[in-house]
């Protein structure tokens, strides 16, 4: 069964190639159906293998395909364990739904087949990432998803903002990749291999805590790039320039969670380095807080969701930092469902509003698009963390795990609760401003419900959003049990009684409901409240982080480059070369003055030299 796993990568790749070369001939919307078909097929291929893993009929296994780079022992090999199975299911499952959704959403775009080609390429890249059995191959997937992300963000490249956003995403991700790359160097220098199983089995023996800290910190730099953590989160809000299905698939559900996935995959190494764990936890918490603070003031519906994604990724990273891998992955899963749902819902709204994304000109859409309204309502409650929606269970688990760590981690727990409050608040703001109240549409906009290809994915995702949380409750720990196979070398610390868990959950629930009530009271009225004041203004331009980076890194960097190019290279280096050149010429001019052109002067020179030579020979030969 595992032998056909390579098809999970190959099928979307084939789909991508077909659409790239023949997409125009296939035409709309058939090209979209082809793309959807290949992804769905990949999902079907992976499905039985996943079930076999759940019922334990096949072991965790590596399937060797071929040798990639022999000198560094990098093979192309696939690892099929619960973690990769879960990610495969998320990526191909949600991926299929979003492909289905895009068939309607992208209708009429002149580069329709190209879009699906890129989407399929993304699925293939993501599968390489999650199925990889070694770090080298993971890095391939890691970079390839960056490529697909670049292609899809700047899909509407005639908009300068879209092109710039794509570039920014790739470059910022590359900064993270630098960390990953250096981590790979240290890993190879320490282990002599990239193979996960070998590394995890031997890590405690082979490397010291110091090396583990170095490796994990660098890996975290990579994760921070891909999963949009401080200080590298700035690309994700800009990435919303891409088409909405892209935002849903790549920048909410799957690719951005790659960093979290990578940390979970390297759990053994992170377990060895408590310092890294602490840093990871703090960075995650701060990211969650900062992003939530920015999200509350955004007026662009996709921007709110983008910052919300960063904030939720902060939660997941916090989970990784405190060693609650299962909880983090669980939140990753539920978040994939409800955030994809929210984005697709937002896309549906934008579609209905003829491309308008400003929530201030929406309102009252409830009656016009009931399916979108209901499904997004489920997403809203899930993200806010209301019992019994999926978000409640997973977020609560992370907070509980943080609390269980004790010590200064309690502080992180408090911040986490604050973020939960803000989350509920801004999601309520989004929901109320969009669907409730009075219509504030501009003239000529006639909102309507989206076609079936768009609403069916919404309904399916909505069902999962409502129910999926139940697979891992304090009473039923199926999910955690399933993932155990992936964390076999990780030692679990469990310290909370059932009473404490229920107590913490109650607190979280109260906070969430408080946030919803606050938002409801503030925004559910006939006039939109004015959002001015210092905090609102600073928050709306994202605390000026982009400008700050521009001032402190981009501009000085550009200045330095210009100096090197225009001054150092031209004046100094070329100057030296020219100096040598003109020096030689000057010396030549001096010598040229000896060339009087007078034959007799030359002859005299020859004669004098002859005499002198004879004298020298005599002197040397002792002729005198």
């Amino acid at each position: 069964m595992i032998d056909v796993l390579w098809l999970v990568i190959a099928l979307p790749l084939v789909g991508s190639t077909i659409n790239l070369f023949f997409g125009k001939r296939i035409g709309q919307p058939l090209a979209g159906w082809v793309a959807f078909g290949f992804v769905a097929l990949a999902w079907l291929v992976a499905l039985p293998a996943t079930f076999s893993l759940i019922d334990g009929s096949i072991p965790v296994e590596t399937s060797y395909l071929f040798t990639w780079i022999p000198v560094v022992g990098a093979d192309v090999a696939l690892l099929w364990d619960p973690l990769s199975a879960l990610m495969t299911m998320i990526v191909t499952g949600i991926g299929s739904l979003i492909h289905l959704y895009s068939i309607g959403y992208m209708r009429g775009d002149e580069r329709y087949p190209r879009f699906f080609s890129f989407m399929n390429l993304f699925i293939a890249s993501m599968m390489i990432l999650v199925l990889s059995a070694n770090y080298a191959m993971m890095f391939i997937g890691w970079e390839l998803v960056g490529l697909s992300s670049y292609l899809l963000i700047s899909f509407w490249f005639t908009k300068p903002a879209a092109a710039a956003a794509g570039k920014k995403a790739f470059i910022v991700n590359r900064i993270g990749d630098w960390g990953f790359l250096v981590a790979l160097m240290i890993i190879f220098a320490s282990f002599g291999t990239f193979d996960f199983q070998t590394i995890f089995a031997s890590a405690p023996v082979v490397i010291t805590v110091g090396t583990a800290t170095a490796i994990t910190l660098l890996l975290f730099v990579g994760a921070a790039g891909k999963s949009a953590q401080i200080p590298l989160y700035v690309w994700l809000p800009d990435a919303m320039e891409g088409p909405t299905p892209v935002s849903a698939l790549i920048h909410a559900a799957t690719m951005v969670t790659a960093g979290v996935f990578m940390i979970a995959r390297s759990a053994v190494l992170f377990e060895m380095a408590p310092t890294t764990g602490a840093i990871v936890a703090v960075v995650g918490t701060l990211t969650a807080l900062v992003a939530a603070l920015i999200a509350v003031s955004q007026t662009d519906i996709k921007k709110v969701l983008a910052y919300s994604t960063i904030s939720q990724l902060g939660y997941m990273v916090l989970a990784m930092g405190v060693g609650a891998y299962t909880a983090g992955i669980f939140h990753l899963t539920t978040h994939a469902f409800f955030k994809a749902l929210l984005f697709l819902g937002a896309g549906s709204v934008i579609h209905a509003m003829a491309g308008d994304q400003d929530m201030r000109t929406m309102g009252g859409l409830r009656k016009k698009m009931p399916i979108t309204f209901i499904t997004m309502g489920a997403g809203w409650l899930a993200l806010s963390g209301v019992f019994p929606f999926s978000g409640f269970w997973s977020k609560d688990e992370i907070l509980a795990a943080t609390f269980a760590k004790g010590g200064w981690y309690i502080g992180l727990w408090v911040i986490g609760l604050l973020v939960a409050l803000l989350t509920a608040f801004y999601m309520t703001r989004l929901f109320v401003m969009t669907f409730l109240g009075k219509p504030r549409w501009e003239d000529g906009v006639h909102p309507h419900e989206s076609p079936a290809t768009m609403t069916i994915p919404l309904i399916i995702l909505g069902l999962f959003t409502v129910s999926f949380g139940l697979v891992n409750t304090p009473a039923l720990v199926a999910f955690e049990h399933f993932l155990e196979g992936s964390f076999q070398y990780v030692h679990h610390v469990q310290g909370l009684s059932m009473g404490a868990i229920i107590g913490l959950a109650t607190i979280a629930l109260i906070v969430a409901i408080a946030g919803i009530v606050w938002g409801w009271l503030k925004y559910h009225r006939s006039e939109l409240p004015a959002e001015d004041g210092k905090f609102w203004r600073r928050s709306r331009d994202a605390f000026g982080v982009d400008e700050f980076y521009g001032r402190t890194i981009v501009e000085p960097g550009k200045k330095a480059s210009e100096w090197a190019a225009d001054v150092f290279d031209v004046k100094v280096l070329d100057g030296i070369a020219h100096g040598i050149g003109s020096g030689t010429r000057g010396f030549g001019d001096v010598l040229a003055r000896l060339q009087t052109g007078q034959v007799r002067a030359y002859a005299g020179g020859v004669a004098i030299a002859g005499v002198l030579l004879i004298i020298v020979f005599l002197a040397v030969g002792g002729g005198f």
Partner: protein, 175 residues
Amino acid sequence: MAETIVFIIFAAVALAGAVSMITASNPVYSAMGLLAAMFAIAVLYVMLDAHFVAAVQVIIYAGAVMTLFLFVIMLIGVDKPDAYGKQVPAQRVITGIVALGLFGSIVLAGRAAWITGSNAFGTANLNGTAEAVADELFGTWMIVFLATVMLLTIAALGTIALAYFRDVPEEEMVG
């Protein structure tokens, strides 16, 4: 003894001719001086048993080459008295020092190596007849001889070329 007298006389003629050649202000007198020197050298060749070389010296140098010189002198004209030059003021002094230095250093250098000492000068029976020279020239030195043939041909061609292709535009000649 007779040899000594002959040597002294003709050596003196050769030196006198040479000196008059470089000092005469009229090129025709210079040519005459050189002619005298060459005849004297031819006699010295005979003293050295190089009969054939002596004959060639007279025919080629004294005959052909000097005639050519005189011909060119006449062609160019002798009406321009030649000065010793004035670019370098101390030129004659320097020239004298250089020439003397050269002579001195050659003599000094040769002193050790020269085959002095032997009474009769040289090997008695060196036969410099045309036959002996021809044996050597067309035997061992055949290839070199042919090379000189080519050289002469080329020289002849060069001369013709110089005379023939002379209608070159002024600016290119100077350029």
